[in-house]
């Protein structure tokens, strides 16, 4: 950790030049050595055990409170009419949102040829998988009789009934499960070459068998790579609209309703921007300590952090735009209920939550206009933690403040969570961290094959390999005379 070599500043990119993405004189072998070394050391560092102890204790708490919920029923939560959704759905949307950064980094930045994604994509994808697992738990446990959750799926049954496809809650079931499945396939596909590296380096029998089976016998064949790259591109192209659709569908849960504060047409893109915002904040929160702790500053460079902070700022501004448009349009609508709902948000009984949200989501990320904040680890983590808090409160504000005061003042109410809900929220963080720590211990946390492919020795900078694709006939096709045209 302390033996980091001197690393040049790669956040400055002079026009016409591209800054390196891998620093510290690394070559292919040292990249492998560094990433595999983390997994191969006989026992993890003490801090890992401490973190794992805490997170598994929280996971145990989660199991306990969910067990209690199952035994006692939903009444142990603070939910009651008019507020039927509280911590459960807030936390569900929060975790789904966190799960968006991974696929964004893997798929969208891949399509946009952002090569810096290679340093962080594996990490973020793993985070996606675990966040979606945490998210999926909440709708499942909030149904009251969770042992009937399988009724959500359209399977032939002796009751002769089918689920109601006109309900957005059912769309959620399809969207989240599709997202989980596709993210898992994408993650696993990307990981196979790295699992093969771990297999080839494995020294114990257990590791040889485990990584051997998981890597499916991958051997780096050019014929395999050819199809692999094609499918990876297609999976990225499929995952990109998917990632947009998932949070859009989640937003439909609210936006199709007639409730003021929920029914707003900007919700789909606004939720997507917010999800990416929170997801990137979570990646920064976790990555900054991990890269320092495992000595990966030359693979996950300051430039990576700088770029992530910029994306966080950009998406944060989109979220701020959506807040602003919502307020403007509530006023512009001339609809007294709309106007009341938004005024109530900012000034009503949940104003405290609203202003936490504004402070964390609109004010705090403005720090990222300054390079100092984008490149100083503690500032990055500080702002990112605030954003995560703010994004949890955003969902809380939308859900609870709108539900607590709707059209009929006689049915207004004030929702307070119980200790069971607080413990469930804390426990979900425990589950997330437990899974994440296990991944750090046993999986390749940096996509070695992809990092290698953007290093100078990989030859990407050689310039065009084949003809430059001139269209107008009179320009002779520029061929390397020794090669000829490879494609028939």
């Amino acid at each position: 950790m302390s033996a980091q070599p001197f690393l040049p500043d790669n956040t400055v990119e002079a026009p016409g030049k591209r800054a390196p993405l891998v620093l510290g004189g690394n070559d292919f072998a040292s990249v492998t050595e560094k990433v595999c070394g983390i997994v191969e050391r006989p026992r993890p560092p003490r801090a890992w055990y401490v973190a794992f102890a805490i997170s598994s204790a929280l996971t145990a708490l989660l199991v306990a409170v969910v067990g209690y919920l199952f035994l006692a029923g939903i009444g142990v939560w603070g939910l009651n009419i008019p507020v039927g959704w509280g911590f459960d759905i807030t936390t569900f949307v929060f975790w789904v949102g966190i799960g968006h950064a991974g696929t964004l980094i893997s798929a969208i930045l891949f399509l946009f040829r952002q090569k810096w994604r290679t340093g962080i994509n594996r990490f973020a994808e793993a985070m996606t998988i675990f966040a979606v697992m945490c998210a999926g738990m909440f709708p499942a446990i909030h149904t009251g009789r969770p042992w009937f959750d399988y009724w959500l799926f359209p399977y032939p049954n002796q009751m002769y009934v089918w689920p109601n496809f006109r309900s957005p809650l059912l769309w959620d079931v399809f969207a989240v499960s599709t997202y989980f499945t596709v993210s898992l396939m994408f993650w696993y596909t990307g990981m196979i070459p790295d699992l093969a590296t771990l297999r080839d380096r494995a020294t114990t029998r257990v590791r040889k068998i485990a990584y051997g089976v998981l890597s499916l016998g991958w051997r780096g064949s050019g014929r395999h790579w050819h199809r692999y790259e094609r499918v990876y591109l297609l999976l990225a192209a499929l995952a990109t609209p998917l990632v947009l659709s998932v949070h859009s569908v989640v937003s439909f849960d609210f936006a199709v309703a007639q409730l003021p504060g929920w029914h707003s047409t900007i919700f789909p893109p606004y939720f997507v921007a917010g999800a990416i915002f929170s997801g990137f904040a979570m990646v920064i929160t976790l990555l900054v300590p991990v890269r320092a702790f495992f000595g990966l500053k030359d693979l996950v460079t300051t430039r990576h952090l700088d770029n992530m902070a910029k994306i966080t700022l950009a998406t944060g501004l989109m979220v701020a735009y959506a807040y602003g448009v919502e307020f403007f349009m509530a006023w512009y609508s001339g609809n007294p209920f709309e106007r009341f709902a938004l005024a109530n948000r900012a000034l009503g009984p949940y104003a405290w939550a609203f202003w936490i949200m504004i402070g964390c989501n609109v004010v705090a990320p403005q720090a990222f206009w300054f390079k100092k904040a984008r490149t100083t680890p503690w500032m990055l983590v500080g702002v990112s933690v605030l954003i995560n808090i703010g994004m949890w409160f955003e969902r809380f504000v939308i859900i609870v403040s709108s539900l607590s005061r709707d059209y009929l003042p006689s049915s207004w109410g004030y929702y307070k969570p119980t200790w069971v809900e607080l413990c469930t929220l804390a426990g979900s963080f425990g589950l997330f961290m437990t899974l994440f720590l296990l991944f750090l211990r046993f999986g390749p946390m940096i996509a070695m094959a992809e990092v290698k492919s953007v290093m100078p020795a990989a030859g990407l900078e050689r310039g065009p390999h084949h003809g430059h694709g001139q269209y107008w006939g009179e320009i002779p096709h520029q061929h390397d005379p020794q090669k000829g045209d490879a494609r028939p």
Binding site: P15, P241, A255, P268, G469
Partner: protein, 399 residues
């Protein structure tokens, strides 16, 4: 490869005499078309009303192309892009027309009473909105939007042209530094311009996504405009070595992406209001589903989404410049149909039939847009020759 292209210029990079002919011819055609429109407006019953709506529609159309171009330029700098340098000048030229479009936009302020119910005396249809929907405030906002766009469009064209001569890399740094605040100003002005110009045609209706909807159309517009213009320039013998199939391919991908984005935004707006079924919202769609307007909406579903989606889905079509240019031309038409569907039900809810003045005004403003862009191209190269990333763009290749 690199030495071949960054060496002596062996392609036609300036419009020269053809540019002179183009801008004069287009300007003349534009003025004539507008003159004809005025004549038609004067000669037909209710012609002036239709003329103003046609003007609003055509203006919203050319404005969206210029704003789309400004967006392209700002995004290019914001993301520090390399591949798009060779087509950036085309976008800069169209964004550079914004000061001129500002002048063309002023008549709308004077026609507000014809176009917008809220601007008429004694209007009571939208209670509580008078503080926003009134002619003086509308005019003041309009001036602010036009000033912001004109300043940005002019500034980026001038800076980039200065770099052609000096090759000064620090200009890239400055343009990049200003791109982020410029993008914020762009997003806010475009959204509110969409609310003012198009949404307030029906003062009772509101949709928070509407600004994004107009933006999506503008983005489709620019990603169609660029390959089409690049193709036409190349066909006429210009910039043949610089813009390659690789650039067309990328523009095609972006066009495809924004066709899908437009569909996503349009679907979100439609489905959410359809589902909630609130009368104050659905009346807007009801108007657009009756008396033949439903067919226009259906034409958008197919022509603005499904057909281009199928046409551009696979790799090969995007790498055929002629085909891509044809799809781009089609999308420019469909983008106009989209705006027609937004604007004209306010003028003629009873029928979607075209009025001749719709087409003559459109022809007039499009010709004037082309004339302005060609006028700006005089004495300028058709690509930013001094950009330090030009070599990267020339050598660019889709992996």
């Amino acid at each position: 490869m690199m030495s071949q292209v960054s060496g002596p210029v062996s392609e036609q990079r300036r419009l020269g005499a053809m540019g002179e002919r183009l801008w004069r011819g287009a300007a003349l055609a534009g003025v004539v078309a507008l003159g004809v429109s005025l004549g038609v407006a004067a000669a037909t019953p209710d012609g002036w009303r239709r003329f103003f709506f046609a003007y609003l529609l055509a203006f919203a159309y050319v404005l969206s192309l210029a704003l789309g171009s400004l967006y392209f330029v700002l995004l290019h700098h914001l993301t520090n892009s390399g591949w798009s340098v060779v087509v950036r000048r085309i976008a800069e030229l169209f964004a550079g027309t914004l000061p001129f479009l500002g002048v063309l936009g002023l008549p709308l302020v004077f026609a507000a009473g014809e176009l917008y119910p809220w601007a008429r005396a004694g209007f009571v249809g939208a209670p509580g909105k008078a503080a926003y929907l009134n002619v003086p405030f509308f005019a003041a906002r309009w001036v602010v939007y036009l000033a912001v766009w004109g300043a940005l469009g002019g500034l980026y064209l001038r800076r980039s042209s200065a770099q052609d001569v000096s090759g000064d890399a620090s200009l890239s740094v400055t343009m990049r530094r200003w791109s982020a605040p410029a993008m914020i100003a762009f997003a806010l002005t475009l959204s509110f311009a969409a609310f003012d110009l198009l949404m307030s045609l029906d003062p009772g209706w509101y949709s928070t996504i509407f600004g994004v909807y107009y933006f999506a159309g503008a983005a489709v517009g620019v990603y169609a405009l660029l390959p089409l213009v690049a193709f036409l320039l190349q066909r006429a013998g210009f910039i043949r070595r610089s813009v390659s199939v690789e650039h067309y391919h990328d523009l095609g991908k972006l066009l495809f992406g924004f066709v899908v984005f437009w569909a996503y935004i349009a679907f979100s707006q439609y489905m959410l209001q359809w589902y909630a079924n609130l009368p104050e919202e659905t009346h807007w769609f009801v108007v657009r589903q009756q008396h033949g307007w439903g067919w226009v909406g259906l034409a958008l579903v197919f022509g603005h989404f499904l057909i281009p989606f199928a046409a551009l889905l696979s790799r090969a079509p995007k790498r055929r410049p002629r085909f891509l240019a044809a799809v781009a031309a089609w999308m420019l038409v469909m983008h106009w149909v989209d705006l027609y569907w937004l604007v004209m039900p306010a003028a003629s809810p009873a029928t979607p039939a075209l009025h001749v003045v719709d087409l003559t005004v459109l022809a007039g403003l499009v010709c004037l847009l082309v004339a302005a862009a060609a006028f700006l191209a005089r004495g300028r190269a058709l690509l930013p020759e001094g950009d330090p990333r030009l070599a990267e763009s020339l050598a660019f290749e889709n992996a």
